[in-house]
Every structure is written in structure tokens, then in C-alpha cells.
């Protein structure tokens, strides 16, 4: 048989080919759990891109161990900051309970540092810059902390893929289970386990582990609805968030309604001067 190439060269080529194939498959197989986790998280985060700005109303239902309920109503405005190294801006106006009606909070969120935060107290008409170092205390007496429901920006965590499984909660979806470690020094959590579905890339459930690394709370996302904006026709918003505290037996719901996008809000609508008349 006439060799096309001297056998030594042939061997080299074959070896080279095998090496290339191995290299190739290596790239697929050897994607670390960290890389895969980041990929899942970034796909989820970026699915939200281009929502621009939004307004919504939220009702919080606070439930004690005996199931006794108490309600809070608030308005929320959010401005998307496209730069991933910066956080979004938001204003929350409290409507009830009646004694806090008109109280408003402005946040310029940061990725790894404390946010810039101002509180407006209507009785005195006073705008007060507040320390936001601690984001893990209860928000309005609920089981949610500020850390739990503010923008879940990509850079706030380190990620690790764990497994894929049924999302549960009668969803009939497959979820990627990702462990995320908060990078903010003063986070209230050592880790969070997030279930992110493979169809819409949205979070369906998050387990929160406290500083002692014990399961503290579970958050379930329900009532996802899809909105369309100019550059993104798959803006998903969960309308019913349920948080259960496993230590105290208390729970809180965050029920959103009247989501509106692209309301023409700009940076100017998120400065402390607007707090005296945001209603």
C-alpha cells in the first residue's frame, strides 16, 4: 500500500488529530461547576436586559406563627442601569400602614458595596441619608430583607452548578440548581441555593442559608408573566413571592400588580430631591 505520507508524519498527524478531538471534548466535559453555574446565572440575568424602567404596586402580607395577617402596600419605581458593574436605582413609597403613608426610600444600589440610600420622613418633611451597610434586616417587619428583593445583579454572587432536576411546585419544568455565594461582605447569608428553570431562565425557588450555614428561609416565585419592551420581548416578572422563615415559622408574601414598563423614567427621577413629592 502506497503511503501518501511517510509513516512518521502520518503518526504525528493522527496523534495531532486525536489530541485536537480530546482538546475539543475536554472543553465540553471539563467546564467546571463554577463556569456552568455562572453561565446559567448570566443567562438568567441577561434575560431581563432592556426592561429599561418600571413601576409597580406591591402588597406585602406578613403572617405570624399563628397565621395572623398584617398588610403593607407600597409603590415601586426601578431604573435599569445597563452597565453590569453598577446597580439599578429604585424608589419605594410606602402607602400603608397608614402611619407610614408617604415614607419613601431611594436606593442607588451597588454590586459589592453598601448602597447609597435616602429615607424620606413625611411628618417632618425630612430627607435623611441612611446607612445601608446592613441589607439583611427585616424589611417593614417582614421576612424579606432588603437584600432579598433588590436587583439580583450578576456580580453580587459567585456561582456553582450543582445538578439539574424537576423544578417542583407543579411546574413541570426542569431546573438547574445553582449554589450562589454572596460577595457582599456584610451579607446576611453564607450561601443561597437557586432553582432556575431551563425554559425561561427564571428563578423558581431560593433557599437562604444564614451565617451559621443553616437553612433559614425559602423563597418561592409564582405567577410569572411575560412583558414586552422595545428591545426585549421576554421580560419576566414573578407576581407572587412567598418567603417562609424556617426558624420562626413566620411567612411573608410579596404580591405585585400593575407592572408598567418604559414609563419614561430617567436618572432625574431617582435623586433625593424628588422624595418630597413622589406619590
Amino acid at each position: 500500500m502506497k503511503h501518501l505520507f511517510p509513516s512518521s508524519l502520518n503518526k504525528i498527524l493522527i496523534a495531532g488529530f486525536i489530541f485536537l478531538v480530546l482538546m475539543q471534548s475536554n472543553l465540553v466535559i471539563a467546564k467546571t461547576p463554577e463556569e456552568k453555574g455562572f453561565e446559567i446565572a448570566s443567562r438568567s440575568d441577561r434575560s431581563d436586559r432592556g426592561f429599561n424602567n418600571s413601576e409597580s404596586t406591591a402588597t406585602m402580607v406578613l403572617r405570624n406563627k399563628q397565621g395572623k395577617e398584617s398588610k403593607r402596600i407600597l409603590f415601586q419605581r426601578t431604573l435599569e442601569i445597563p452597565d453590569e458593574t453598577l446597580g439599578d436605582k429604585s424608589i419605594i413609597v410606602f402607602k400603608s400602614p397608614a402611619d407610614v403613608n408617604g415614607t419613601a426610600m431611594l436606593s442607588h444600589s451597588k454590586i459589592l458595596e453598601a448602597d447609597d440610600q435616602w429615607l424620606y420622613l413625611p411628618a417632618l418633611k425630612r430627607i435623611k441619608r441612611i446607612s445601608s451597610k446592613n441589607k439583611s434586616g427585616p424589611f417593614l417587619g417582614s421576612e424579606f430583607s432588603f437584600e432579598d428583593f433588590t436587583a439580583q445583579e450578576l456580580g453580587k454572587f459567585e456561582y456553582k452548578y450543582i445538578r439539574s432536576e424537576e423544578c417542583g411546585n407543579n411546574l413541570n419544568l426542569i431546573c438547574d440548581v445553582v449554589e450562589r455565594t454572596p460577595q457582599y461582605e456584610f451579607s446576611g447569608y453564607t450561601k443561597q441555593i437557586a432553582w432556575i428553570d431551563q425554559r425561561d431562565y427564571q428563578a423558581r425557588k431560593i433557599d437562604f442559608y444564614d451565617r451559621k450555614n443553616e437553612l433559614l428561609k425559602t423563597l418561592i416565585f409564582n405567577g410569572y408573566k411575560k412583558y414586552t419592551t422595545k428591545i426585549n420581548n421576554h421580560v419576566w416578572r414573578a407576581h407572587n413571592l412567598n418567603m417562609v422563615n424556617h426558624l420562626t415559622g413566620k411567612s411573608s408574601d410579596f404580591i405585585f400588580s400593575n407592572y408598567k414598563f418604559e414609563q419614561g423614567l430617567t436618572d432625574k427621577d431617582f435623586v433625593k430631591g424628588v422624595l418630597t413629592h413622589v406619590r
Binding site: 402596600i73 402607602k95 427585616p138 417587619g141 430631591g273
Partner: protein
């Protein structure tokens, strides 16, 4: 009398049902506010003749009406205030805290009418806050103000916010009557005030303010020209009354807060001309918060501020001349928003001490209970708070919000 007030308040509490605001929209009509009943129990006999002792009872009505047009370019606000006191006629008073029309454009805002404006960062003294007159009969803490007629033009730019205020219609400070507590040896005659301005209370005052933030720094600077809000109290010829004397002043000031980690560093300073020798005054200090203490959701804040005032005897009297304030704040962060603030002011020269405790808790969704206690100690004749030294009191306030 007390019975009448009680039946009035009980009736009012029963009649007024929570008015649902049009939740779900930014904007629209919003009716809210509170009605409250308050008692003050004085623990000592009064220092001066004619003053009442024991307990007094008040009802307070403070509804709020807000309206915003659909396009959010126009807002209207109306907040009347009424207090009926069982004893001191001077404490029974009506005021319009807010009644304005606000136009909001792209870069400019114009507010016309009566409004309240708050400037400043400090907790123990509101030194730079000059737009509104103190509603002195309401509370000793200087956190109640009378509505001020104004035209306020504001503009927000990338480099900060500028506000211009034209302030027609001077508001005179309220003072306790002859049977009220918290007065000097003779009461203040609020009907015969003397003004330096030739047009008396009709002088049109002017103020301008710049405010912004730079990273962790929030700063404000202002200039005010007009009738000063603090009167000099001058005894009349037969020494039966004090006559308030209101002077024309120039006042310039700054307020700064540096926010870092759990620290808030605060400073307010003013320079004033027009009341004797020009002087400066300042208040500054810090607030540090320990979060989630003892493995609970509670926060504990520690506060300390120093008050300096360089005014001479030709300027209105102040007790905040060289005083150290220290306080502690506890917030439970519970469903009822339970909070307690306790502290004291000590005059570093006379060693007079003023103790203050305030506690607050929501009851159900619509009621609020507030307890406060204030005590004076260590004052001798001719010292700062000697006149008030026996006016220690405990106050209980129960309010229904709607």
C-alpha cells in the same frame, strides 16, 4: 370639659373610617392623616404663679389631602392642623401646615402656597432649618413647625439642586399662655410683637439653597435674608409680659453628612448677622448603628452631638450654647415598628441636664401609641432652663391613622 373632649374624640375615632386611597396608580387622590388624644402629666408643682399642675388633655386632628394630575405635572396638597387643649388656651390652635400647588416641569419646579421645608442633618438641634417658624406650644423638641407661605422655584441639574424661596407673610412663634407650662416668670404677649422691619410682619423674606451629594457626602449650603424666626423676648415696662422682638437677619449656613459603613457623621453650622455682634453656631456629631444585636432583628444606634453657639446677650436666648447630647436608639424592626429613643443634654458649663425618652409602637394596622418623658435637673436661678425646671412631664399619645 374633659368629658366633652373625650366624647368628641371617641365619636371621631368611631366615625372616621380608613379612606381607601387609589392604590395601584402613582398619582390620583389620597386622603390620609390622623386623629389623636394626648395627655401630659406634670410630676411637679409649677414654678410660676397661675400655671396649672397635674394632667392636661388634648385632642389633635391632622388630616391630609393630596391630589396629583394624571400626567403627574401638577400636585395639590392641603394639611390643616388643629389642637384643642383642655387648659392652656394658647395651646389650642389651628394652623395650615400645607396648602400648595406644585408644578413639576422637566427641569424646573414651582411651588406656590403654604409648605413645610426641612433642612439639616443633626438630631439634637435643627440649627439650619430656618424656613418655617417653630410651633413652640406643640413640643419642646423643635420638630413642629407652622406652615409658611412661599413661592419656591427649584431646579435639579447633574451638579445638584438649587432652590429659591420668596417668603411673604411672616409667622410668629407660638408660646404657652399664662396658665401653661414651659414659660418664664411672666408669659409672652404674642399679640404685640415688635418688628425691626418698617413693614412689620409683611416683610418679604428670601432664601436660596444648594444641595447635592458626592459619593458618601451629602452637602447643603444656604443663605437667608429676612425676619429671623427666633424672637428676643423683652419685658414690657411694668414687667407683666415679655414682648417678642423680631429682627432682620442675614444667615448663611451649611449642613453636611458623611455616611460610611455604620457611621453617620453630621455637621450643621451657621453665621448670623443682625442681632448684636455677628456670631457663629454649630452642631455636630455622629450616629453609629449596631445591626441585628444579640442575634435578634433589633438595631441599636448610639448618638452623640456637641452644640456650640457664640451669640451674645443681644441675640435671642438659646439653651443650646455649649451642650453635649448623647442618646441611644433601639429599633425592634418588628411588625409594630417598636422604637425607643433615650438621651440627655448636658450643659458643659452650668451642668444642667435635660433627659428625654420617647417610645413608639403601632397597635393593629391603624393605631399608634407614643410615650415620652422629659425631665430637667441641676438648674439654679438665672441658668438656662431654670424657668422650666419644674416642668417635668410624662406624655401619652394615642392616635388613629387613616
Amino acid at each position: 370639659m374633659l368629658g366633652k373632649i373625650c366624647s368628641f374624640i371617641i365619636l371621631a375615632l368611631l366615625i372616621i373610617l380608613p379612606v381607601k386611597s387609589n392604590a395601584g396608580e402613582f398619582g390620583s387622590v389620597d386622603v390620609s392623616g390622623f386623629i389623636g388624644i394626648e395627655t401630659r402629666i406634670f410630676t411637679q408643682n409649677p414654678r410660676w404663679e397661675d400655671q396649672d399642675s397635674g394632667a392636661e388633655l388634648s385632642v389633635i386632628f391632622n388630616p391630609e389631602f393630596h391630589y396629583q394630575t394624571q400626567d403627574c405635572n401638577h400636585q395639590f396638597s392641603f394639611i390643616p392642623f388643629y389642637r384643642k387643649d383642655s387648659r392652656d388656651e394658647a395651646r389650642t390652635h389651628f394652623d395650615v401646615r400645607e396648602a400648595y400647588w406644585l408644578w413639576i416641569g422637566d427641569e424646573w419646579e414651582v411651588l406656590t402656597g403654604i409648605n413645610k421645608v426641612f433642612w439639616g442633618t443633626a438630631e439634637s438641634r435643627h440649627l439650619v432649618n430656618i424656613i418655617n417658624q417653630s410651633d413652640n406650644v406643640e413640643n419642646l423638641d423643635g420638630e413642629d413647625y407652622l406652615g409658611q407661605p412661599m413661592i419656591n422655584i427649584g431646579t435639579q441639574r447633574d451638579w445638584g439642586r438649587i432652590d429659591l424661596y420668596v417668603l411673604p407673610g411672616f409667622r410668629e412663634r407660638t408660646f404657652s399662655g399664662s396658665d401653661g407650662r414651659f414659660r418664664a416668670v411672666v408669659p409672652v404677649d404674642t399679640k404685640n410683637a415688635i418688628f425691626e422691619s418698617s413693614v412689620n410682619e409683611k416683610h418679604i423674606d428670601f432664601a436660596t439653597r444648594y444641595s447635592h451629594y458626592f459619593g458618601d457626602w451629602d452637602v447643603g449650603a444656604f443663605y437667608f435674608y429676612g425676619t429671623g424666626r427666633e424672637p428676643r423676648l423683652i419685658a414690657n415696662t411694668n414687667a407683666t409680659k415679655f414682648i417678642p422682638n423680631y429682627d432682620l437677619i442675614h444667615q448663611t449656613g451649611i449642613d453636611v453628612q458623611y455616611t460610611n459603613d455604620s457611621w453617620l457623621w453630621k455637621f450643621e453650622g451657621i453665621a448670623r448677622e443682625g442681632q448684636g455682634k455677628a456670631f457663629i453656631a454649630a452642631v455636630g456629631g455622629f450616629e453609629y448603628t449596631f445591626y441585628q444585636v444579640f442575634n435578634t432583628y433589633s438595631d441599636i444606634g448610639v448618638l452623640a452631638e456637641y452644640q456650640y453657639d457664640g451669640r451674645t446677650r443681644e441675640a435671642p436666648f438659646t439653651a443650646s450654647d455649649q451642650d453635649l447630647f448623647t442618646g441611644i436608639r433601639w429599633a425592634a424592626n418588628d411588625i409594630q415598628d417598636t422604637q425607643i429613643l433615650g438621651g440627655f443634654n448636658i450643659d458643659t458649663s452650668t451642668h444642667e441636664i435635660f433627659y428625654n425618652i420617647e417610645a413608639q409602637r403601632r397597635i393593629g394596622d391603624n393605631y399608634d401609641l407614643e410615650l415620652s418623658a422629659r425631665f430637667f435637673a441641676g438648674s439654679s436661678a438665672n441658668e438656662d432652663v431654670y424657668a422650666f425646671e419644674r416642668d417635668d412631664y410624662i406624655q401619652i399619645r394615642f392616635a388613629r391613622y387613616f
